[in-house]
């Protein structure tokens, strides 16, 4: 009876895996668990990921002590720093898997490409959530950041921004063959978006082409949401941005699993 049961289970998983790009909740979760276990063994990385954004926010709070700068720009930075950190960590982690040979064997096993990519994203989303909670808490309670909008939404957007960083890092890592290249992807992907997202110059004053460009780049929405919240915006003001960020996360993950190849040259 036991054997019959396991054969039935086997057949079920086999048919679902036949398509290759398919996903199963169990295998996605197994991948997420494995990546989280790897992270847990690397305490120094966890400490850096969580403390680094706090140090940066702390420096700014100290420098502009007594001015409203932190209240205005704090939410922006709370969204931006984790995104950058998570982009770097994710792109290097996936590159390491690509070049160490573990991915090559993984791709010969009955696991969907989506399981690998979404499993990675989920694991890093857990880290990103902890990071966002810590940095918002630090900014509000330690540095005295006073956000006009609801703080819960600041946390939500910060988490989404960090997860967007993960998803973009996952997608971009396909372009890199070496660690040197992977590290350059962060400025390559994020800096042009930073320049055109409306922090340096209001978007309606930009040259038309750049303004159009800024509309199709995710950071514009990620940071617009934070600016809205800093200015006292509520859910109705940011839900459009939140939707666009979520769509970009999904899109980047689709690109990530599409560029994962079972066969390589």
């Amino acid at each position: 009876m036991n054997a019959a049961h396991s054969v039935a289970t086997d057949l079920r998983t086999t048919t679902r895996q036949e398509r290759g790009r398919g996903m199963t909740a169990a295998l996605t979760a197994a991948t997420a668990r494995r990546v989280l276990t790897q992270l847990r063994h690397d305490k120094r990385t966890i400490a850096l990921v969580i403390l680094l954004p706090c140090v940066l926010i702390g420096l700014i709070a100290w420098m502009f002590d007594g001015t409203p700068v932190l209240d205005q720009f704090g939410p922006l930075l709370v969204g931006l720093f984790p995104m950058m950190v998570m982009f770097l960590v994710t792109s290097v982690a996936t590159l390491r898997e690509r070049i160490s040979g573990t991915l090559e064997r993984l791709m010969t096993l009955p696991i969907g490409r989506g399981d690998v990519v979404v499993g990675y994203a989920l694991a890093f989303a857990v880290l990103a959530t902890v990071q966002a909670l810590v940095i918002v808490g630090f900014a509000v309670w330690v540095c005295g950041m006073d956000v006009a909008g609801p703080i819960g939404l600041v946390v939500l957007v910060a988490v989404l921004d960090a997860v967007l960083g993960c998803a973009l890092g996952l997608g971009a890592s396909a372009l890199a063959r070496t660690e040197f290249q992977a590290v350059q992807l962060m400025p390559l992907v994020l800096f042009p978006q930073l320049i055109t997202c409306g922090i340096l110059m209001p978007r309606d004053e930009m040259p038309t082409v750049l303004e159009w460009l800024s509309r199709v780049l995710p950071l514009t929405y990620a940071l617009d949401a934070m600016q809205q919240l800093a200015a006292g915006g509520a859910w109705a003001d940011v839900r459009g941005d939140v939707g666009v960020i979520a769509a970009f996360i999904v899109g980047a993950l689709l690109v990530g699993s599409a560029t994962l190849r079972r066969r390589t040259p």
Partner: protein, 247 residues
């Protein structure tokens, strides 16, 4: 599918603009330990990658267990060990196996059985980073054994192992073959030839010889596999030179 585990016909692989494998034909019988020998750069790894479906090929057919190489149902029937151990260095031995076990639907008993087979039970909770090179490659082998595959493709699984461990692993390979598993094992150490049921010698991406060791020795008159290989290489070089002279 007959009695062959692997059938390769006219395989052609181009990597980085150079032809690594040129119209290679090969049959690996089922239930035997078949050695794939040849100097480094002879195409052993490329051929194995083509068999497990990890290599982009430019021509020819590769049939594995009756199915086209790389097809989805084969993914739970082939165990593959890459040349450098594909294990996560920041996980423990058991954590590494647990991930593969989740993918293959193997339980904790299966993990323990695989660890016993490669003699790593006492290292189960050690981090990969603290293991020796030989221990790491045995972890990689244990992962390949997890799903009780019908075919094992092992790329230099005994590199860096001491003679005792090497003997134990070859005994394991033969035990598996007796239970019906087909094995293709590559090595660049010629003295491992004596342990294989059949030998395939590769040179420059082509099959130089495919026979049992006895047949090979009888044909070349050499005392051992290494001598036979050198004799065949000399023969091939002379043939190439003659062809060049005619042209």
């Amino acid at each position: 599918m007959g009695n062959s585990a692997i059938e390769v016909a006219g395989l052609r692989v181009v990597r980085g603009g150079t032809r690594v494998v040129e119209s290679l034909d090969l049959t690996v019988p089922a239930g035997q330990v078949v050695g794939l020998l040849g100097p480094s750069g002879s195409g052993k790894t490329t051929l194995m990658r083509a068999i497990v479906g990890a290599q982009i090929v430019d021509g020819g057919t590769v049939t594995v267990l009756g199915l086209p190489a790389g097809s989805a149902p084969l993914r739970r029937r082939i165990g593959y060990v890459t040349q450098s151990p594909s294990v996560y260095g920041d996980l423990t031995v058991t954590e590494n196996l647990r991930y593969a076990a989740a993918i293959l639907g193997v339980d904790a008993d299966g993990i323990r059985r695989a660890l016993t087979e490669v003699d790593l039970v006492e290292h189960a909770d050690q981090s990969i980073g603290t293991l020796s090179g030989g221990e790491r490659s045995r972890v990689s082998l244990a992962i390949a054994l997890l799903g009780r595959p019908d075919l094992l493709v092992l790329d230099e699984p005994t590199v860096g192992l001491d003679p005792v461990l090497r003997r134990d692993l070859w005994n394991l390979f033969h035990r598996l073959a007796r239970s019906g598993v087909s094995l293709l094992v590559s090595s660049h150490v010629m003295d491992e030839a004596a342990r294989c049921d059949r030998l395939i010698l590769l040179r420059g991406g082509a099959v130089l010889s495919d026979s049992t060791l006895d047949e090979l020795l009888a044909r070349t008159g050499a005392p051992d596999a290494e001598g036979a290989f050198l004799a065949l290489v000399d023969e091939a070089v002379a043939r190439d030179a003659a062809k060049g002279a005619v042209a």
